[in-house]
């Protein structure tokens, strides 16, 4: 399923945090959203998974306006892993995954045999079937992410939105999570902190800065030293991954005094 975001603006508490966003994700593509802290990544994604309403513009899934659908209809097409503490209630893993069936249930919606089968398969796909009886709060960070991906898969969506899914994970877990996301074969929109992971795993990158998209395209074209200096304020050297050939980056601080490219700091 294809995502088309047009002229999107999002406001939080009266402040417009994201402006004029245009983003396209072809069906089955893995699209990365990168940018410094506070650039608007999460705000944009929160609007895409309907935690926020757009102040202007549209998010379309195969041409249909996502925010014109009911919340349930939307959740049958698009699942998300928000960046959110897991809450205070000690649900079991099986119960957490079962929540993914919520958009498909009507009325009292007791999960039936079909739902249970879908949940079991989802847990199996992320290699977490053995965790089903565990308390979610007792899991490690990597296990939690796997379970949340299973919940998203149980939603049987066409689109998956992830907000920095690799945060607080060790490197093996980070690679595992991205492999699971890739294997889902869904259209994926994910914010990522680690530019090297983004460069290897994403089909396309959108760079967001100050609430606006400042560059987009294949990682190789987007992650240029100039752009990285301007947006992330670092000096970057590009190298090739010896096996995959993907672009990888080595970072240094910008030479001091930092040339103020975008900032309007007062001169001394």
């Amino acid at each position: 399923m294809r995502i088309d975001i047009e002229d999107l603006a999002v406001e939080v508490a009266g402040h417009r945090l994201v402006h004029d966003i245009a983003l396209t994700a072809g069906s089955g593509r893995l699209i990365g959203l990168v940018g410094p802290n506070g650039s608007g990544k999460s705000t944009l994604l929160r609007c895409v998974y309907r935690a926020l309403r757009p102040a202007a513009g549209t998010v379309r899934l195969d041409g249909d306006d996502l925010h014109a659908m009911t919340a349930k209809e939307g959740a049958r097409l698009l699942a998300a892993l928000p960046q959110e503490a897991a809450g205070t209630f000690d649900f079991t893993v099986a119960e957490v995954v079962a929540m993914g069936r919520l958009p498909h249930q009507h009325g009292s919606g007791r999960p039936g045999a079909t739902d249970n089968g879908i949940c079991a398969r989802a847990l199996d796909r992320v290699g977490a079937a053995h965790l089903a009886g565990r308390g979610f709060l007792s899991l490690s960070g990597g296990e939690k992410q796997r379970v949340l991906i299973a919940r998203a898969l149980a939603q049987e969506p066409q689109v998956l939105v992830l907000d920095e899914p690799t945060n607080h994970l060790d490197i093996a877990q980070q690679l595992e999570v991205l492999a699971l996301v890739r294997d889902s074969r869904l259209t994926v929109l994910t914010a990522l902190h680690d530019l090297n992971l983004a460069a290897v795993h994403c089909d396309e990158l959108y760079v967001i800065d100050g609430g606006r998209i400042v560059a987009s395209g294949p990682p190789h074209d987007v992650l240029t030293p100039d752009l990285l200096a301007e947006v992330f304020a670092v000096r970057a050297h590009r190298v090739r991954h010896p096996e995959s050939g993907a672009v990888q980056l080595l970072f240094d601080r910008l030479p001091s005094p930092a040339p103020p490219v975008t900032s309007a700091a007062p001169a001394f």
């Binding site: 998974y49 939307g74 998300a80 929540m99 919520l102 958009p103 009886g133």
Partner: protein, 367 residues
């Protein structure tokens, strides 16, 4: 109360701790046992009391009341005790216990806080103002026997409007603001109540005000049953239908949104339901503490956090608890009646501590 011998063999994991592999009781048998227990408890509520009626007489009068049989003149006083006093009172205790427990579950999900209970929204202390106006100053006297309940309920609804208006933001009701506003209002209303008690000119009125604040079912009769029962039944039906959405809300607003649940709307609905039922229940029983706070936790220790299970079990446990608390409050120091709120704590606290220590229970992530 809880089987403790289900230690399943498993490999130790570095993340094992309380709640790592929670032991859970299957729900259908638990419901069946609790329902039988409730029926038995209500029967005990009808049979036990200070007047020394035998079980034979009690069952006879109960049968007469249920089937509309005839009585001899000598049986009237016993019949009145059984049918007009004890039976409606036991039923009301069950309704109030069920209502407070269900609303406790709802409010804990609403504000996502383990310390929340039906009274954290400030509604009950608003109701107390209304009740005390009647008890101390004879307000709303035109309403006769309904004055106390009506006044308490109206004040509960006024408190609800006040708390809602003060707590709401552009994003709807946020958990923290709701708790803070409710707690602030609680202190405000309590101050008004205290002032009223102090300015009342006779000690007996102050005593009945105190009794009301600690909760009592001594005013129970058939008249006080229908509204409370209807409110509790309607709320239970709504909550059971919303159990899936409550699960999503408990995971956080963002997750709820991603699962197709409008958290702001759900929170509005929950607030109104909780406030209305709290008002209806408090109006007939006073502010009975502890049940709405602890029964939800006790239930989660037994069956886990899934609201489908919790909402099916908690009302039954709460009903059983309150029926017995009411029996003890009448019998222990008869003919003096103890405030129900005192006994809920005396019975409930040891139960709670015992369960918490024996079963892995984590709420709030503190494993």
């Amino acid at each position: 109360m809880a089987p403790t011998t289900q230690a399943a063999p498993r490999a130790p994991s570095p993340h094992d701790g309380p709640g790592a592999r929670p032991r859970r009781i299957p729900v259908p048998p638990l419901i069946a046992v609790a329902a039988v227990l409730l029926a038995g408890s209500v029967l005990c509520g009808v049979g036990l009391g200070a007047s020394g009626l035998g079980w034979g007489e009690v069952l006879h009068y109960l049968g007469a009341g249920l089937t509309g049989g005839s009585l001899t003149p000598g049986e009237v006083s016993g019949y009145t005790i059984v049918w007009e006093l004890r039976f409606p009172r036991a039923l009301l205790a069950a309704v109030v216990g069920a209502g407070l427990s269900a609303i406790g579950v709802a409010v804990q999900a609403l504000v996502r806080n383990a310390l929340a209970d039906p009274f954290v929204l400030g509604i009950s202390s608003g109701a107390a103002v209304g009740a005390n106006a009647v008890l101390l100053f004879g307000a709303a006297g035109a309403l006769g026997v309904w004055a106390l309940s009506a006044s308490a309920f109206v004040c509960a609804l006024l408190a609800m409007v006040l708390v809602y208006a003060a707590a709401r933001t552009a994003h709807g009701l946020t958990p923290l603001r709701l708790v803070l506003t409710g707690t602030a209002m609680y202190y405000g209303f309590s101050a008004v109540t205290t002032l009223m008690v102090f300015s009342a000119d006779h000690g007996e009125a102050a005593r009945s005000a105190m009794m009301w604040l600690l909760g009592s079912l001594s005013g129970a009769g058939w008249a006080s049953l229908p509204i409370a029962a209807f409110a509790v039944a309607a709320a239970l039906a709504y909550l059971l239908l919303s159990a899936g959405r409550l699960n999503a809300l408990a995971m956080g607003d963002e997750t709820a949104a991603a699962l197709g649940v409008d958290a702001a709307r759900l929170r509005r609905e929950l607030f109104v339901v909780a406030a209305a039922v709290t008002g209806a229940v408090v109006a007939v029983s006073g502010a009975i503490g502890f049940v709405g706070l602890m029964v939800p936790h006790i239930t989660r220790m037994l069956v886990g956090s899934d609201h489908r299970k919790v909402l099916a079990v908690a009302p039954l446990l709460g009903a059983v608890l309150l029926v017995w608390v009411d029996i003890l409050s009448r019998v222990l120091l008869a003919p003096v009646e103890l405030p129900v709120g005192v006994l809920t704590a005396v019975i409930g606290v040891p139960c709670f501590v015992l369960l918490m220590r024996r079963r892995g229970y984590s709420f709030g992530g503190g494993a």
